[in-house]
Subunit: 768 residues, 2 copies
């Protein structure tokens, strides 16, 4: 744990006291979003200190020209990156001729920031003493509406405490923004139109190259002591900014309040000629409702989300705060209503990693969304990949594959590869496996086979073709080998026969064949349609089988474990515990070669395979592999602790499981990795959910039946979670004595608890 | 062979006919240099077509900010690169109000370019028809003086053939230049002073960051029909350019000639406040001599070089032209008089590879310079590395080594690492071995031990320390292993136990220990001085020995060969001959992962070890390794064919040896790699020399004795070369019947010819 200023609270993230060194960190942690847009917790008023400004519109990206030291064939020309959008939150505050700026005022007192996760709003209050000795109280609150998802609302109130005040209040919209991580300091936006209509202002801007059309808009209302002040603003337009200047004088202890509504319309959802009229509609809806009514609706919308997604933890406020923070941020990032969108590793909280979609989605996020939302949401995530199948085939062709072999990109926004390190882009190919596994996982959990017969099989075939072509025959081993890969442990590059990769490659082929057979037997018209499209012959399938049936798996007879890769045992084995602390984290302390030849593992690799394919191995095998690999695991990926937490729990090592849980759940709140200022780790937050539900709760699907093996960490009195299993909502409550199940459904549900069958009746509480 | 416009000629490189598509290629091939500066064969007059302008001053570089996709710890902050210097060759020609520009004239006839290697000059002649139908004959000649190495001279003559001509002739110096390969389009030069003094003009400019001070200068004389025209020029200065405008009218068939002298002085050789006065001296010397006398001296200087360095080939004009081109370019690049300089892979002919020094110098260039020049030249190249020892120790520290371990940079200008690909920078560590090997090779050839006792031992100790620390103990193999390296074959990255690397690592330790013992016994005061400095204990030496004595060498019992690396045999073995031609060169056709998992070898790797450590292996072993590896070698490095040529010759496969010879010697003239426009491959040119002297001539040093096993390619009538062996000059002539030796020395010399002892007397011709 590396920072500890976040105040423990069950439903809110709270910061007290103003500290310039925490501003960027808090801008990340207090980020807000509504799935359609998001923003870092930048201040509304001017701030001249160190800050990282960020506003983002879901799906609006820019293909930044790739930057590399030395070009390699096959590298992508462009890196699609989340684009910093024009900002609509700004309000310049001038009090008796002095600009309000927390960095330059004489004193800041009673600074408090709260992100209320239950109700979905962010507030800030403080008292400042200006250089002119005016003392001012400020109270600000804002949210991005879930209900009107193009609009956000701000309430900003100013009370002069020791003086009368001539106020100049200037809400503005500003399109003169850049990305911090622009590769070449390119300009990303063309501004085409600045318009003002009464109290409403609009800037139309288009992204360069991708030509997304957007309109950024705002409208304000001013009040003095809650009475509309009826101010007529003066309009100032520059090349890229519209400011509406409001002047008013108020008395000491009177309160001036501005309600500012703003947001974006874009041609992703509207005709590009109608962006201003759509913006006017959105503003009119917002202003007609007013701030208070919108906020009420916001509370209701979040209540609906929490109703299904909440996890309660009794007796451990830090853990409770953390799990809600993770669930809250996941829902702020992705709500699952738009199959063109996906879950970026940093969501709407930063720019790093640019492109939106990694294998994180399939490996870590889908279980959370499957269990806490309607099936359609997970299905949307699967369809996202189906929509990109043609591009995955093109991507594989760039690397020399043919005949419809598909390699999904490591990082993508639109289906095209965006990453540019050869050892990742070309070699971290196990990502293809996670995409197939998610199809299996979706069917296993939801029971909805229609996705596979309608769309998924084509994806499975493209992936099976890739693995078949990618494996080569080793005469020496008399087996098929997969040479030159990077496994989930990115601290080894270009290794041969990464066990995880080989295992999932074989599984992908087997699973594709199994589904071809099933669809041929049970969905014949789908079968004919798909086979006509993909031109798959029996000979080709039997060639696949040859590879799958003769895949090589490195194994150590001495240690009785599968080897992470062929050369693993040649390393010098000093455990992480024996490694000098001054050398950690190794990715910040060591040169890359040293990391690569070390035994240290960034995140679950062989153990990731044991997580996905748990049923293929005994608990004893899991234990021996866990004991062999975990001591060399540095967990320097945000995706590492969660899988280890689930497995430690399975092995009954609850103390260790709990430690991993805390590390995954408070990764950002406590800034374990010293980088929270760059943004939050959104995708790994779904792993936190896993740690509780699959780890402590022991939830699995076994032979089509939902199963639990609940345990409880020593520090907890009780915890509860809900899952939506095939449209039956099940609430599970675990305390130190018993486990309670409550089913919301019209039908009964048969489950397994510690491998015993339990039949749950609708609305009846069952204790076990 | 991919281009064939160079006209065969024993002493000259000749191009006939004007072709815009060949301009950049010829700019490289016809480059001139004098060791202190060099320039591409750009035109003096304006040229608006595609061109790659380049003038370079030896040792003047710029640390360009590193560009990478993803930063890794240990990467260099800066990439020192050869800097495009201000140009002094420009002469604008205006005839009857039309600018002479070969790209826009109506017609170019009788275009001829000659690089006279015997005499060291470049000429160009052509007849143009201007758009105004004026027909003009132009004859231009220029050279960079070996004698006055800060000065170059141009003679440029214009004869109007069908008209009288109002000429405006404007020689200029121009500091407004950029590097084509600038990473960030940075400006590299600050211009501080533009001065004109009579006919002399000067621009003082400093490099940014490195702060090299330079003065670019010029002076001209004008003649009509060889009579000094006494013209007073008009001076035009802009921010970065000085032009001297000369106006004169001449009659049809009269010839106007301008002699332009120019060049650079720099604070590498002068006090920075005296650059202009040094330039004035240089100009005065040049002008006093005049163009004709300077040219005479140039011929003499080149005759002196050729006297020692020439290789004659009888009966194969292409081979003769090629070897002279290689020898000529090597001498244009590096003359060995300045130990601060080294041999850049592109010399003064382009920008690619930026930094000046690679392991090419030690592995390929030193034998050539040792044999064709005074010992001091090779010693200077060794001292260059000794001078950089402290920086090599710092470089190793960056990668986690300690206690004086030295890792020499992969690419450097000033001793600091410049390369930024982890698989090269951090892993292609065998370079350290070549640097130690060169010390051994120098002593073996010259018999001069003083370098080792005075300086070399410190380098050997730093390198031995590196290998000792870099090897790790594998309990599985019960041997020391070297994990995560890139061998000379850069088409495999991050492999374990590259045989060549392991072999040279062991050798380095053994050789360091051997020399420590020898110096302790024979040079005790050196021993004490060095040991006091490096603090080397007996324990440390015995730890080194443990590593050297227990080094692991991968070996295939099945194939009876040492394996290039641990995983080599798992590959799919399709020979280069069976690889579809459309896939070649693989580095332009395949993605990097595909190259890495293929069996294809870029350049000699295991065979490089057999080349360096020939005496450790039998000819049968060489043969089996050659037969195992060469069929998978694509020779896509310029350094590949030469080593294979030497080895094929040793195996008596003269036809194959000859093919490799042609490929190495005409690599640039015939543009095998489709990249000659970027510059020449200077360092590999020394490999061409090896192919003849060590390959066909079979020259070795065996037990302190010079030895020959001469053979002759079928296509040749005879060939001859000279070597300077320990200050005795030996000329060797091989024809189809016999081998003749002629010794220039005061003492006799005992040599081996086909393993028989032959005693040569001074000035006596001996036939064998």
């Amino acid at each position: 744990m590396n920072q500890d200023y976040i105040i423990p609270n069950a439903w809110s993230i709270i910061e007290e006291g103003f500290d310039v060194d925490r501003v960027k960190s808090s801008e990340s942690i207090f980020s807000i979003g509504n799935g359609a847009m998001g923003q870092r917790a930048n201040y509304e008023e001017h701030y001249s200190g160190p800050t990282f400004q960020g506003s983002y519109i879901a799906g609006v990206y820019y293909p930044d020209k790739t930057k590399v030291g030395w070009w390699k064939n096959g590298y992508p020309e462009y890196f699609a990156k989340v684009l910093n959008a024009p900002s609509w939150i700004g309000i310049d505050i001038n009090i008796n001729k002095e600009q309000l700026d927390l960095f330059s005022v004489k004193k800041v007192e009673d600074f408090r920031r709260e992100l209320n996760m239950k109700e979905g709003w962010l507030s800030r209050s403080f008292k400042v003493t200006l250089q002119n000795d005016n003392e001012i109280q400020v109270e600000a609150k804002r949210f991005l509406s879930l209900d009107l998802d193009e609009v956000g609302a701000i309430q900003y109130a100013i009370t002069p405490l020791n003086c009368d005040a001539d106020l100049v209040i200037t809400p503005y919209i500003d399109a003169g923004i850049t990305n911090e991580d622009s590769n070449w300091d390119d300009k990303f936006w063309n501004i085409s139109n600045l318009a003002v209509d009464g109290q409403q202002a609009f800037i139309e801007a288009q992204t360069m190259k991708t030509d997304f059309h957007t309109c950024t808009f705002m409208q304000s209302e001013c009040f003095v002591n809650n009475q509309n002040a009826g101010l007529q603003p003066q309009v100032i337009k520059t090349d890229n900014k519209i400011s509406l200047i409001h002047k008013i004088s108020i008395r000491q202890q009177e309160t001036f309040t501005i309600h500012k509504f703003g947001g974006y319309t874009s041609d992703r959802n509207h005709n590009k000629t109608e962006l201003i009229s759509a913006a006017q509609n959105a503003l009119n809806n917002a202003v007609d409702s007013g701030f208070a009514e919108m906020l009420e609706k916001q509370k209701q919308s979040w209540a609906n989300i929490w109703q299904m997604a909440d996890i309660t933890i009794d007796g451990d406020i830090m853990a409770q705060q953390a799990i809600r923070f993770n669930i809250f941020q996941l829902n702020q990032t992705y709500l699952g209503t738009d199959s063109r969108l996906n879950i970026g590793p940093k969501g709407f909280t930063g720019e790093k990693y640019g492109g939106s979609t990694y294998w994180d989605t399939e490996a870590y996020c889908i279980p959370f969304y499957m269990a806490t939302k309607d099936d359609k949401v997970a299905r949307n995530l699967l369809e996202y990949r189906h929509n990109h199948l043609e591009k995955a085939i093109k991507n594989a062709e760039k690397l020399g594959f043919r005949n419809g072999a598909a390699l999904y990109p490591m990082v993508t926004m639109n289906g095209e590869e965006c990453h540019n390190e050869w050892e990742i882009t070309f070699e971290e190919i196990h990502r293809n496996g996670a995409i197939a596994f998610a199809i299996y996982n979706y069917y296993r959990f939801t029971g909805d086979y229609s996705y596979i017969s309608e769309k998924g099989l084509e994806v499975l075939i493209g992936i099976a073709r890739f693995w078949h072509q990618r494996a080569t025959y080793s005469t020496q081993k008399n087996k098929y080998v997969i040479l030159g890969v990077t496994g989930p442990n990115e601290y080894e590059n270009n290794v041969n026969n990464n066990w995880y990769t080989n295992y999932i490659a074989k599984w992908c082929i087997d699973y594709a064949v199994e589904n071809i057979d099933k669809i041929e037997a049970e969905f014949n018209s789908d079968y004919t349609r798909i086979m006509n499209k993909v031109k798959l012959s029996e000979t080709e399938i039997s060639d696949w089988r040859k590879v799958a049936d003769n895949m090589y798996f490195p194994y150590s007879e001495e240690h009785k474990v599968f080897l992470q890769q062929d050369g693993f045992l040649d390393k010098e084995f000093i455990t992480v515990a024996d490694l000098d602390k001054s050398q950690r984290p190794i990715n910040q302390k060591w040169s890359w070669d040293r990391i690569l030849r070390s035994p240290y593992i960034k995140q679950a690799d062989t153990l990731q395979g044991f997580y996905f394919f748990e049923d293929d191995f005994s608990t004893e095998e899991l234990e021996s592999h866990f004991d062999f690999y975990e001591p060399f695991t540095v967990h320097e990926s945000s995706l590492s602790p969660c899988v280890h937490s689930v497995q430690a729990a399975k092995l009954g090592r609850m103390e260790q499981a709990y430690k991993f849980y805390l590390r995954t759940s408070r990764l950002d709140l406590d800034d374990y990795n010293h980088e929270v200022h760059e943004g939050l780790h959104i995708t790994s937050m779904a792993g936190t959910w896993m740690s509780i539900v699959e780890g402590f709760g022991g939830m699995r699907v076994k032979n089509d039946t939902l199963s639990f093996n609940p345990q409880i960490p020593e520090h907890w009195k009780a915890y509860s979670f809900k899952v939506n299993f095939r449209n039956r909502i099940l609430k599970v409550t675990v305390d130190r004595k018993e486990v309670k199940f409550q089913l919301k459904s019209e039908e009964e549900l048969q489950i397994l608890v510690n491998d015993d069958t339990v039949i749950l009746q609708p609305d009846k509480l069952v204790s076990v």
